[in-house]
Each structure stands twice: as C-alpha cells, then as structure tokens.
Amino acid sequence: MSSWKTLWLVGSREWRSRRKAFAISTLILVVVVSGGLTAIGLTAGGSDGPVTYRIGTVGPTVAVEALINIYAPPGFRADVKAFSSAEEIERRMEEGELEFGIASATEILSYPGRSKAMLQAISAALSDRQIRQQAEALGVAPDDLDSMLDTTVTVREVVEPAESFSADSALAAASLFFTFMGILAYGQWVAYGVVEEKAGRVAEVVLSAVTPRQLLTAKVVSIGFLGFCQLMIVGFLVLLLGGLLGVVDLPDATGGAFVIIVGWFLLGYAFYAAGYAASGALVRSAQDASDAVGGFNLLLMVGYFTAVSSLIAERDTLVTQIASFVPITAPLTMPMRMVRGDVGVGQGLISVGIMLLATYGMVLVGARVFRQGIIRVGIKLKWREVVRSRG
C-alpha cells in the first residue's frame, strides 16, 4: 500500500474523530468574531453610532462636509474643520489630531493604509465640487457634467503619529492572538490524540501496520489542516464583514497580514505539533495528559508574552527582535513584527529559514521520541532517556 494512501486513511480518521469538536469550536469562533466586529462597527467613533473621521481643510467647511457625508458609506461620518494652510493640516495630522486633510482641491492628505472607504468618499466629494465649479464657470449645462467625471485626485501619504495605537498595531495584536491560539489549540489536539492512542493501547495495533513516522505525519498534517481551515474561515469572515460589507473599517494591510498570519501559523504549528506529539508519547497514562502539554504550553507562553510586551510598549524592543529569530518564540514574535512593519523582507526570510531548519530538526527528534515512547505504557519516560535509547 502506498504511503500516501496510508497517510490519507490515518488522516481521514483523525478528521472524522474530531469533526464535532471542530464544528463547535469553529461555530463559536464565527459567532464571537462576527459579533465582535459588528459591535466594533456599531460602537466605534462614540456612542452616537457612525465612525467619525476628523478632516482638515483650507477654506469653507460646511459644503465640503456635506458633500463628503453624501459620498461616505453607511456608518461613516466626516467632521471637517478649517485650518489656515496645508502645512498646518499636515502638522495637526502628524500630532494625531486629524485622520485626513484636504490640502487643495486636488490633493488629499492621508496616513498609509487608512480607511479606503472614507478616502474614496473625500475624493468623490472633491471631484464633485470641482466639476460643479468648472461647469458653472464655463456655463456647461448639468446634462454635460458626465463628460467631466474623469478628474483625477492624487493622494499624498504623510507621517503617522508614533504615539497613537495604529491600525498596524491592531493588526499585529490580532495576528499574535490568532497565531498563538491556533498553535496552542491544535498542538494540544495532537498531544491529546497521541495520549489517547497510547493510553488506549490502540497505537500498538495501528503501528503493526503503519510506521511511526506515517502515524505521526498523518496526525500532525490532518489536525494542522483543520487549524488551517478554521483560520481561513475566520480570516475570510473578517475580510468579508470588514472589507465587503463595511461593518468595520479595515486597514489596507489586512489582506497581507492575513497571509503572514496563516504562513507563520503553519510554520509554528509544524514545529510545536512535532514536540507536542513526542510529549504525548512519553506520558504514563491518560491521567498524565496535562504533563504532556505543559512544557510546550510554557514555551508558547514565553513567545506570547514577549510579543505582548512589545505591543504594550508600542515599539520594537531588543528582546522582541532577538526572539523573532529564536524558533521557540519566532512563530509569535516575527509575524507581529512583520505585520507592524518593523522588519523588512530580508529579515523575515532569514527567520523563516531558521524556522524551517528548526522544524525539520524538531520533526526528526519528535518522530524518534514518538516511536520510542508510544508503545511503552505504564512508565513515565524522559526525553533524554528516549532520545538516547535504541529501538
């Protein structure tokens, strides 16, 4: 029988045995995420409902504000204030007092990646005003206005205030949370699955037909695939509610952040799942299952709190920088730094390379420990003892 068929058989049994738990946990996540996003959409910008963007302009404000609010999507509102010059508006934006600025009839000031929906509304409002003014000056009849709708408005990005909790920071926090929860939850599923098979003695029967490496691979890949699916479901839900339906205003970088989260989840999961599986194979009985996950949970916590400390400090600390190249902590710290824009592509690739090597090593060691430990029931085994022993 081919190795692929064996992997498929073992993996599909894993899926079938976990379909109920997967469905329930996914449903809970969907409800929590959609509820949370809807609540954010409803409450953001104050208790009066719509999200309010502060916009600076030179000159009269009333007509501009009215026009922008006409073009703004539901749930968004413009609060336009007058300033003496474009420089003054830019300065106020750099201090975090304004989200957008109208420097002239054809130039909008914006932070990088800030609300595309509101940007389009301002742009449309300016175009509309410009067209009407030109039409009026030229004596063009309203019916001819359609020909003038090609007016191009440029957007110039200005420096975002450092002290504000930016959209990128929020995305980084989300990436940290989902990567951490994904690795923790699905890594533990692997450990508990191994403990169940070992304690129930079924591993001995299965291993008379498949190799330990096949059993380990099928278990890790199939459970990891469930985690990947769940992450995709939640990710698309966020993009759908936020981007398409406009329930919340997502930064432009959300799509890229999603790719980073998924990629690092898979890397981190592979590394930790091999370790969780090996730990599960070392326990004496099902009662010791918590021992199996405790060590790796602790290691994950180290990465999590290192990343959280950087989020709270709102800066790229030295500890986080180092941690993002250490395999134990990198799956949590590096994606957060990447999403926040703290690292370039080169550093990211180096960390990925280190992680791939470390994962390969962990899979080799994990498979060895798994093979040695999975059928030795009734005695508590130690990593060192099992790694050193033969067969």
Partner: protein, 298 residues
Amino acid sequence: MLSVDGVTKKFGELVALDDCSLTVERGKILGFLGPNGAGKTTTMRIILGLIDPDAGAVSWDDRPIDAAARLRFGYMPEERGLYPRMPLHDQLVYHGRLHGMAKDSAIAEATRLLEMLSLEDRSAAKIEELSHGNQQRAQLAVALMHDPELLVLDEPFAGLDPIGVDALSDVLAERASTGTAVLFSSHQLDLVEDMCRQVVIINEGSVVLAGEVDDLRQSSPRRYLDVVLEQCRPDWVQRLEGVDLVAHSGNRFRLLVDDQMRVSDVAAWAEQAGSLREFSFTPPDLSEVFRESVRRSQ
C-alpha cells in the same frame, strides 16, 4: 515460515531477550510460554517491528521482514486496544484498509467476520459499549480481517469464558488448517497442550525449552504415579526412597518419581501397603514440564 534468530534486546541494564530463537511454520500453531516478564511480549513486538532488536534477526520466508511483509501479519496485543468511540464495523474496515484491503473487500470481510464471531447485531455499536468478552472478539476480528499469513497473538485467551475459549480455539485451528502460521502466548497451559504440537518456553529472556509437546513430556527425567490405594497405612509413602508425594486426597495419591525407577518395584510396594485399585505411570503434563524447565533455568 517465521524465523527469530538469536535476538537480543536490552532496556537500559535490563536484558529483556538474550539470544532468543524460534521458528513457526505455515499451518502450525506454536505455543509461546514463559512466566510474566520472561520476554514473550518483547519478542512479539520485535516480530511486528514495533521495537528493534539490539542483535539477531527476524525473517519471514527466509527474507528480512519489511513493511510490506508486516501488512500480511495479524497482531493481537496483550493489552487490548481499539478506538473506544469508533463503531465496531467501521473499526474493522479501518484496520483492514490499513493492511492494504480495498474498501469494498474490507466492508464485506468485516460483515462476514462479525457474523462468524456472533457480533453482527453489535456492528454499529461503539467499542466502549461492548462487553469485555465482545471487545476480545472484536480485537481478534481486527487481527483476522486481512486474512494474515502469520498471526501473532499475545495472551488471546486471557479473560475469555469457556465458550469464548472454544470459539477462539476453533478459529485458530481453522486458520492454521488453511496455512496460516500462528504464534500465541498463554498462561493456560492445558489449553496450549490441547492446541499446539510445538511449544517454546522462555525465561528471563532466554529459551529454556523448545520442541514437540509429546517429546518434551517424554524427555522429562520425572514420572508421575497416580495410585488409588485402600486400607493403606498413612505413612506408606515415606517408606519409599526416591518417591515424593505431590498430592493426596482420600485414597488417591499422586507421586513423583525418577524415570529410572522401576514401575514394578513401586507397584509391589503399593500392594504391600494396602489394597491397590488403580495404578498409572505417566510423564509430566505440559504445566509440569513448564515449571521444571523454569525452575532449572533459575
């Protein structure tokens, strides 16, 4: 033919197997005997490739056992193990397919085996819902699913009632008659004596006795005398040299004698001691051979 040749295995300082050898031919049933901790399970696990030997080799039909060969083996471990929440029929199909069966064949064979083992009405039940005896049968069905060429069964009769023992004995005999090699361990030596022509006795990792059951019994240096003697003096046995009283109940005496002792001498003593009603001179049964060999090896 299964051949285990000079296998040695250590776990740290503990020598689990020391130069252990045995063979099982196709169509034969070999009883694998030994006290607890003797190395039987370790030997079986090495045959199944679950652990590697430190020295020695295991072969099937004179070739080293690879993954493909192992798929043609059936295994029933000492500690029963099946997925507790998987329905019985699904469980059989799953294990059959792991051994390379096509889905349709596995479904048909699972149905046939469940009927054969009188479990057809429990086919949809989860393993955890079955009685202990039925779980034993389910475990046997898993081992038989793919019509294995070699059956390795670790204590298959443990915990079975007499009807279950008979059913399992019949199944093993039927499989052996179709050419399957069967290796099984058991502490129920009377059962082993009934089922097997050949046994291997192992103690502390080493084979201490191996061969045909009848030969092993006949080659024992001891014989048992069963005597029924009426109106005898209570101390008549003590007056005989080279004779040990093994058991005594009423007028019935079981005596252990050296095989060099002349039967006629003992018979004459017995007739002098009382009224002789029964007299039989037999070699030790398998359980006595087992005890002797284990005692000698210690």
